[in-house]
């Protein structure tokens, strides 16, 4: 079976949950294990969050507590999923600032935003929870994160979790 979908949404933190749910719903037909679903959710969340806070960094910050107006911007994030039999391919792309040194960016604990309470674990999670991870980026042009995972091989975990 081959099945494909793409969603494009504003680079706003409200949409992080939406992206996770959309991808999860897209793959449920394949009866993935709960653990696989959790892995996919985490990986998607990391990539989408990175596009929002790093890719479009200057354009939004969370100041909802003070009730201030959010600075508006037109940045979009796209999430493309392709299912080929039991292989899931996910591409998360933005047209943000891009990454100059991809190798350094992917090192665990490396972050350019420590002041925003980021820990530098995003790529490490994508790597740990997906089978393959590839990052394409060009400064000033944007970033595309490609991930692949084979479904139906993970351990079942207790459903009460």
């Amino acid at each position: 079976m081959r099945n494909e979908m793409e969603i494009i949404f504003d680079a706003r933190s409200e949409n992080e949950g939406f992206a996770r749910v959309a991808v999860t719903a897209f793959v449920t037909g394949l009866n993935p294990t709960l653990e696989e679903l959790a892995d996919i959710k985490t990986a998607v969340s990391e990539a989408v969050t990175n596009s929002i806070i790093h890719g479009y960094e200057n354009l939004r910050n969370d100041n909802t507590l003070q009730g201030r107006q959010e600075p508006y911007h037109g940045g979009k994030v796209s999430v493309r999923c392709l299912l080929e039999e039991d292989m899931l391919h996910i591409e998360v792309a933005d047209r943000g600032v891009g990454i100059a040194d991809i190798e350094q960016a992917m090192e665990p604990l490396f972050t350019t935003k420590p002041e925003l309470e980021r820990s530098g674990m995003g790529f490490a999670f994508m790597e740990a929870f997906m089978d393959e991870l590839e990052v394409e980026s060009e400064p000033g042009k944007g970033t595309t994160v490609k991930m692949t995972k084979k479904l139906g091989v993970g351990d079942w975990i207790d459903s009460e979790d």
Binding site: G17, R20, A38, S45, T49, I53, N61, D62, E117
Partner: protein, 107 residues
């Protein structure tokens, strides 16, 4: 998805108890940090307890929240505890190496 409310943050016996929302992600993170730090600075807080009872999802934003609070209290000898940790959260803590600074308490 559940908003973060002020009542989810309570200081009991010099312990800041934080009841985390269903999904701990970047969208919720700033709010959690702000509420937590208000109490950290105002009250006499020694340790921080993260309660994951309602939490089904956490990404690296949660790691940032925990590490940030740890930095603020560890210099005074404060400790971080986690309660009601399910398997998913435990994996996240494990992969991030955070189990070294977070003591997971069995309920």
């Amino acid at each position: 998805m559940g908003r973060v409310l002020e009542e989810d943050f309570q200081v009991i016996d010099h312990c800041l108890m934080i009841r985390l929302p269903a999904e701990v992600d970047h969208h919720q993170a700033a709010c959690i940090c702000e509420y937590a730090d208000r109490l950290l600075y105002r009250e006499d807080v020694c340790n921080v307890v993260f309660d994951f009872e309602n939490t089904t999802f956490m990404d690296s934003s949660g790691i940032g929240i925990i590490m940030g609070r740890y930095r603020k209290i560890s210099c005074f000898g404060g400790r971080i505890y986690a309660i009601h940790v399910n398997r998913q959260i435990r994996r996240i803590l494990g992969v991030s190496g955070l189990e070294k600074i977070v003591e997971v308490l069995e309920a």
